[in-house]
Symmetry: C2
Subunit: 237 residues, 2 copies
């Protein structure tokens, strides 16, 4: 399978970045082999979950044995962490390509990401499965997801604050951010179970619009429960 040829050797020296920040110097194709493993792991963990996803399956899909995978990542847990960081890396790279999350335009980035996710169920599944699995006792990705959520909430609240220009309290901003994150995450599960039942981009967009509009208005919506009760008993018991 491996056809490492003379051609490879010629250009290893040309790359400045090659072994720059690595602790140990890897061979020419190492980086792409590691990446192949990471992609395989994303797919397997997404399809089966971290607990049920076996290293042999990851290894097979990356074209090596499971011991080879362990050679690169030390342990299954190490692989998980690497997958998570890799995913972040990809996402950041994607954002950077567009524009690195400058204030208000971060909102359109969110919408775009949701729309894109519609075409990559694998990525969505990996994230949805792992994030929920992470709440189990002693799960290795627990801290990762807790931190990630906190940072994201803070970030979204900040952007919403900019957009609404001081019309809303910090608490309302944080609540709105939590709501938006919850809608995105919750919809993913619904969508994975039944892709035709929900239109993720439309619903997330609507939610965001309503959230911002409400934040701007400064007033809370009337109680839905009271409205409902009034319907049942118009006299107002």
């Amino acid at each position: 399978m491996e056809g490492t040829t003379v051609a490879d050797t010629a250009q290893t020296a040309t790359r400045v970045v090659s072994a720059a920040d690595r602790v140990q110097r890897p061979q020419a194709r190492t980086l792409e082999r590691r990446e192949a493993v990471l992609q395989a792991a994303m797919q397997v963990f997404g399809a089966r979950g971290y607990n049920k996803g076996a290293l042999v399956e990851v290894a097979e899909q990356a074209g090596m044995t499971h011991a080879g995978v362990l050679h690169h990542f030390g342990s299954k847990e190490g692989l998980l962490i690497a997958v998570l960081k890799y995913r972040d890396g990809i996402e950041v790279a994607g954002v950077e390509a567009r524009e690195q999350a400058e204030g208000p335009s971060f909102l359109s980035h969110i919408i775009e990401t949701v729309a894109e996710n519609t075409h990559r169920p694998g990525v969505v599944q990996t994230y949805a499965v792992l994030s929920a699995e992470s709440v189990t006792d002693g799960h290795p990705a627990q801290e990762y997801f807790r931190d990630r959520t906190t940072v994201l909430r803070e970030k979204i609240a900040g952007v919403l604050g900019e957009v609404t220009e001081g019309h809303a309290s910090r608490q309302d901003l944080l609540d709105a951010a939590s709501t938006l994150i919850a809608v995105m995450d919750g919809l993913q599960v619904q969508w994975l179970l039944d892709p035709d039942a929900v239109d993720m981009p439309r619903i997330v967009t609507k939610t965001l619009d309503e959230l911002v509009d409400r934040l701007m208005s400064g007033a809370a919506a009337p109680s839905a429960v009271e409205r409902a009760n009034a319907l049942v008993d118009p006299t107002g018991r």
Copy 2:
């Protein structure tokens, strides 16, 4: 296998319901033993997930061996299904005690349930973990959660339709229902990871209020992304 004897023959005529469709009569304490297993299973599956939750642990917590558990439920998968149905049973019983989901008052029931859930992290975790795990390939609870979500969405959309009295289209009602479900599910994960970071009842209530208010108004909120862009470039590029 069947030892149909003369004794049987003598009385088969007396009973209309004969051995053929006999349900199996359990002994006196069987029901509570089964329930002990179900409770143990809820706890273990919640804490560890279905895949990692071992039968031995469930059995231990119920005070028997894992073979005893299999005697009652046939297989691990059978136990999972039983747990899910058991959970529904409890919930239905709770609803019935209050009032069986009559139209508009279903909304206050939702809010009450969310508030109650704040005091039973175990139940929340079981649901959150299993529902997300169910999206993995060939998971035994997949159909259960798909159906459950569909029914719930339809139900909520129906109630929202009653409350808003024809002000909204069916699509908008379904979207609002999906949103509400997503918020509840998504918040649960955030809350499990960091209980102090989100106030579930408050946020769900707010979301419901805003959803109903928006549905009543009939008009969509202005685009948040456009508002944000206007901020960055007020000329309107």
